[in-house]
Structure formats: C-alpha cells, structure tokens
Amino acid sequence: MIGLGLLNGLIVTMKAAIRGPVTVQYPDRRVGLLGAARELGMSPFQFLVKRPKDAVKAAAGFATVEDKIAQGPRFRGQDFNWYEDRCTGCASCAKFCPLGIIEIVTSPSDTLKSQGEVYNIDVFDIDIGRCMFCGICVEVCPYDALHMGSGFELGTYERKDLVISVDALRTKKNTPSTWFRPQLEETAYNPHSGESRPWTEVGRHEQPTDEELNERWVDER
C-alpha cells in the first residue's frame, strides 16, 4: 500500500521523540525551579522561601548549571604541560614538530648538576595558533618533560596571545594528559580530576639524583 513506508518511518521519529535528548547542552544547561533547588540541595518549597529572588529567576528559566563534556584521559588539548626539572633543553620537540612551531633557546647552566648535562631554558615558545595537536613533540620527548593538556576552549583577541611562553609554562598547574604516557595510565591518573602531578611521578624511569649525575659526569671525563 502506498504510504505505508512513510507511516513506518513516522513510528521511528515518534519513538525518538519519547526517548529523550542525547544532546549535551554545553557549556550551560538550563534548569527549571525544581532542578535549581536540587542543585542547592533544598526542597523546592525551602528554595522559594529562603531565596525568593533566585527562585523567580529559576522559574523564568535563567538558572543554569555547568554541563561538562566527558573527555577521555588521553585527550590532546591545547594547554601543554612542561616540567622544567625534567627538561634538558635537548630540543627534540622543536626538531620533530611537523610544523616547526616550537622555539627553544638555551644557555649552559652554572650549577654543578648541569655541567654539560642540563641547560637553562631561556625561551620555550609554543605557537598553538598554528599547532595541530598531533602530539609528536610529546611522543619524541626522551625525558618525559613535555605533556599534552586537556583544554579545548580558548579565545584571544590577538594571534600573539596564542603563543605559550616559558613563564606561562612554568607557572601553570600541571595536569598532564595520559597521551603517550603509559606510566600515568598505570596509576589510573585522570587529568580531568584536577589533581596535579609533581615532576618526580610523571617519568618513565627514575630521575637520577644530583650526586649520581655528578658521579657520572666525573666518570665520563
């Protein structure tokens, strides 16, 4: 019968109508009066009595709660995590970046530990305005000093603000992504928990102490 196929299709759309939405209302989800009261842990009646202004707002549909997008722990995001204590200034990341957007300037350090071993990092610029987040800089880092982050939202007025400078990298709270870092995955670390990791715990192998480095330096020469 002609038209049966159309009706058959309508059954599908009707089913979808009652199944409920799958869309995530990023970044904010509107909650009504009941939802806003539940967020605050009150009953709707309490909410009305205690905070009438907010209750009116919520009833009018202006109350929102944050709706987070679920991200995997390996997410390759824009805020790079860098551990200065692990970095030797070898510039492998700059060398292997397919776009050449990492700039590193180093100078020999005058501390004992770094005689020939470690350099001062004067400039470490990552131009994330051109970055494609392939993560190859993280993959080639032999000392596990550079890690991807998990941020994905960024807006600036000028392109020069998109360059991450060495000072920004130094002051950042490090929540490294577990991309290409199986040692972080073994400890069930999730960067989205907001917990930061110190430099001693992110490496593939034990970091030698200053004495060991000094001994090795003496032995080699």
């Binding site: 049966l4 159309l6 058959n8 299709g9 759309t13 390996r74 199986p182 995955e185």
Partner: protein, 368 residues
C-alpha cells in the same frame, strides 16, 4: 514555431551545502534537465603530497588525517601499511587487531555520514542526519578514548598503533556492538521503505559496470553495480583473511542500490568487529625497537586497502633518506567522481544532487 533558446549555465558551488565541501559543478540546463556538467576541483588543494616530501615518515601520518577527514583512521592505515612494506617492518599482532578495529569503526562512521548527508541532499532536512550523527558520536568518543582525538587521529604508527587501547574502551565497544544493529534497523525502517525516497532514488543515476571498471571506480559504488570487488577479500591485508564477512552486491547500479550497499556494509563491519574482539591477543601494541625516524631502503611500495569510499592506497618512493622521495595518493573519491557527467546528463536538477550524494565523496581527499 522554433523556440529560440540557449542552455542556462548554473554554477553549483563551490559554496553550496550539497556539494559536500568546496566542489564546483558548472551545469548546463535545458529547462530543468541537465545537458552537460563539468566539475571544477582544486579549491581545497593543500599540496599534501608535496608537503610529505619534507617530513619524516612518521610525521606524514598527521598529513594523512587531513586528506579524507571523515575517515582518518583508514587513511592512517593505508599510509602505515605502505611504510611497513617499504621498510620491511613486521607489525605486532595486537597492533594489527587494533588497527582493524579502528578501521572498521571508521568505516561505519564514514557510511553513517554518507547516508545522513545523502538524506539531507534529498531534502530530509535534519532528522536522518541527526540520527546517524548520534551513532557517529559514539564512535568518535571511542576514538577519543583510544587516541585522544576525535577526527585527526594519527593513531597508527609503523609496527602497530602508538599506544594500546585503554581498558575502558572494551565495555563501550561491546555496548556499541549490541546497540548498533537495532539502530541500523531504525534507519532502514525510516529510509529504505519510504515511498518518496524510493521514487527519487530507484532507477536514477545508473552507470554500467563496464564503464565503472574502465574508469577504475571502486568501493560501494562498484559493488552496487554487481561487481564482486572488495580488496579485504580478494587481496587480504592485515588479518582480514582471519575474519569472515559477506560482501553485499547489488545489481541495479542506481542510487538506491548504492545506499543499500552502504547499509549492508555497516552490518558486515559489525560482524568483523565482533570477530576482532574475540580474536585479539594480549601483547605489545607496537614494537619498541622501531625508532621514530626510520630510514627505509631504496625502493617503492604500494599497498591498496579497502577504504570506506573505495580503493585507497599510498605509493611511496624512498631514496634511503628519512622522508619519502615521492608520496602519491590514490584517492577513491576523485576517481569515483570521474563518471559524474555521464551519470547526471538527462536528469533533473534535484536528481543530479542526489546522484552526486550517492557517490559519497570527500573534498579533502579529492583535492588533497
């Protein structure tokens, strides 16, 4: 009396929602019917093949993501297979299984996009596309768990994949395999029996199998014309000889057959995924001995694979250095487009757009 008239030339695209990217069609119309069509491509040309010549073999993986950007995993796979053949690298078993799992998931995702946007071209604004996008979202989430990116994956590496899949992936994949057949039934219920779609797709856009073979058209388009050609079966790569699957063949070679072949192929991909999960073996996902910078010996290599759109392959020439001397892509989208003119002549404007949609092209791959 004689009508004094001349053909009307209409530019469809390059900025047109139904040209799937920046494709420009210069069409000559006699009234409503197409009398001539010329495709003008190159608006998305980024010179990926030339860029590959100054990057190391592993860095080029990131460029292949951006060729067919709705099927990045299969592009990675095709490139890596060519590199492995060139350099004589033996992949680890677990890496191969993970590559197959990611490639089959990507095939489903690509066909979902093809069907959804085909319906959009037909005028079914939104509904079927949103349904297919909903399932694609599941696949993208799984890719994010596996490799941290949703579209530009760069997951495959010479000798396997860069990192083993996390344990959270497997329950999600199981749930997906349980849920997906019902969802495909839903598409079929919604689309396959619909009289409007049948009247607009059956018997339209017919092309003979001989012409398709002569124009080296491959993939679902060729199988919809009754030619049994699936590289996964005829020239098995990876472990496709260890899994069993059927090859859906249709004889009509019209728009509807091309749509149905894609729907059936999604079911076959689910079968392959199930067998991959059953057969995957523990072990390293890549060979740690393979360095980041590889220097293949002098020579060349070409490995064809069955991508979601057809035969996809990378022809690589090495001069013994760290980067390819020449990297040539065989893009299925471009070659499948070559007979578009023959397919659309004589059709009305609306049917031309539908025919264009069933070819399932991706401009990132056509122009590279």
């Amino acid at each position: 009396m004689t009508l004094k008239s001349e053909p009307v030339i209409v530019n469809v695209g390059p900025q047109h929602p139904s040209t799937h990217g920046v494709m420009r069609l210069r069409v000559a119309f006699d009234g409503e019917l197409v009398t001539d069509a010329e495709m003008i491509i190159g608006y998305l040309h980024r010179g990926s093949e030339k860029l590959a010549e100054e990057r190391t073999f592993t860095q080029v993986v990131t460029l292949t993501d951006r060729m067919d950007y709705v099927a990045a995993m299969t592009n990675n796979q095709a490139y890596i297979l060519a590199v492995e053949k060139l350099a004589g690298i033996e992949p680890t078993p677990r890496g191969v299984w993970l590559r197959m799992i990611s490639a089959e998931l990507q095939r489903i995702a690509s066909h979902l996009i093809a069907i959804g946007f085909l319906m959009q071209d037909l005028g079914a604004m939104g509904t079927p596309l949103m349904y297919t996008m909903r399932e694609r979202e599941d696949i993208m989430d799984m890719f994010e768990l596996m490799c941290g990116a949703r579209i530009t994956n760069s997951y495959h590496r010479p000798s396997g994949v860069f990192q083993d899949a996390p344990p959270e992936l497997w329950p999600r994949l199981e749930a997906f395999l349980v849920e997906m057949p019902g969802r495909i039934d839903e598409y079929e219920q919604l689309i396959s029996g619909n009289e409007i779609i049948l009247s607009r797709m059956r018997g339209i856009g017919i092309i003979s199998p001989e012409d398709m073979i002569n124009a080296s058209i491959t993939g679902p388009m060729l199988r919809a014309g009754g030619v049994d050609w699936d590289i996964r079966h005829q020239q098995p790569y990876e472990y496709y000889d260890r899994v069993e699957f059927d090859r859906p063949i249709m004889d009509e070679s019209d728009n509807y057959a091309r749509y149905l072949v894609r729907v059936y192929e999604m079911r076959e991909s689910l079968k392959i995924l199930r067998q991959c999960i059953d057969q995957i073996e523990p072990g390293p996902a890549r060979d740690p001995e393979v360095p980041f910078v590889i220097r293949p010996p002098k020579g060349d290599a070409y490995v064809p694979i069955e991508g979601p759109k057809g035969e996809l392959g990378f022809y690589l020439v090495s001069d013994g250095g760290i980067s390819p001397y020449r990297c040539k892509v065989r893009p299925p989208s471009l070659l499948n487009l070559t007979l578009l003119r023959e397919m659309v002549i004589g059709l009305p404007m609306a049917a031309m757009i539908v025919t264009f949609g069933t070819v399932d092209i991706n401009m990132g791959e056509v122009d590279r």
